[in-house]
Amino acid sequence: MLASRVFSLVGRRSISTSLCLRAHGHAGVVKAEDYSLSGYVDRRDVPLPEVAFVRDLSAQQKALKEKEKASWSALSVDEKVELYRMKFNETYAEMKKGTNEWKTILGGVLFFLGLTGVILIWQKHFMYGTVPHTLSEEWVSAQTKRMLDMRVNPVEGISAQWDYDKNEWKK
């Protein structure tokens, strides 16, 4: 039951099983035996599903089904639409329509990224101790000087950015 609630919360799915029918409050209670029978699906590559969408017809719908057995030109447009809706859940246009699910997902992702950022900031401020002395200003500059003296990465790297004649960083 909880799973079907999640279905209706997240949005339409391409597969609409009888479990979803229950969530939307459609007619027909799902019995245990129903799971062994063919179900109705809304899929682009299944143009004629095994069963019709509406299973238990009301008296009005049964009358319409009887009328369908006669000549179809006698049916009005509304009756034809009603017969369609009895047989199928969504039209192809409705099936192919996108949902707004991506907005929910993007919002969720950004929210949790922000939350993680808050946690990290809190940790740095309240939890972690001081960094090692090798990361102090003097040590790092002495370290960089030694790297430049050794000509580390002289082609594309750090020594390529240093002007050895003027003794400063290249502009």
Partner: protein
């Protein structure tokens, strides 16, 4: 409904080919060529002895201390 897979496959095959070729061209002209130029530039007027003397004077060579 007709040619559902064929249409999709054609679109994606073409797209994948173009995207991968595009990546290759961007890498070649954005990364590989400049790198080759940089190396050529560096070694055009490179004097290893001068470099060695500079490193020795700076005191970074353990076996060749500045005297």
């Amino acid at each position: 409904m007709r040619h559902l897979l064929a249409r999709r496959m054609k679109f994606h095959l073409l797209g994948a080919f173009l995207v991968s070729m595009g990546c290759v061209t961007v890498y070649k002209f954005g990364v590989a060529e400049p790198r080759k130029q940089a190396y050529a530039q560096f070694y055009k007027n490179y004097d290893p002895m001068k470099d060695f003397e500079a490193m020795k004077a700076a005191g970074v060579l353990e076996c060749a201390p500045p005297k």
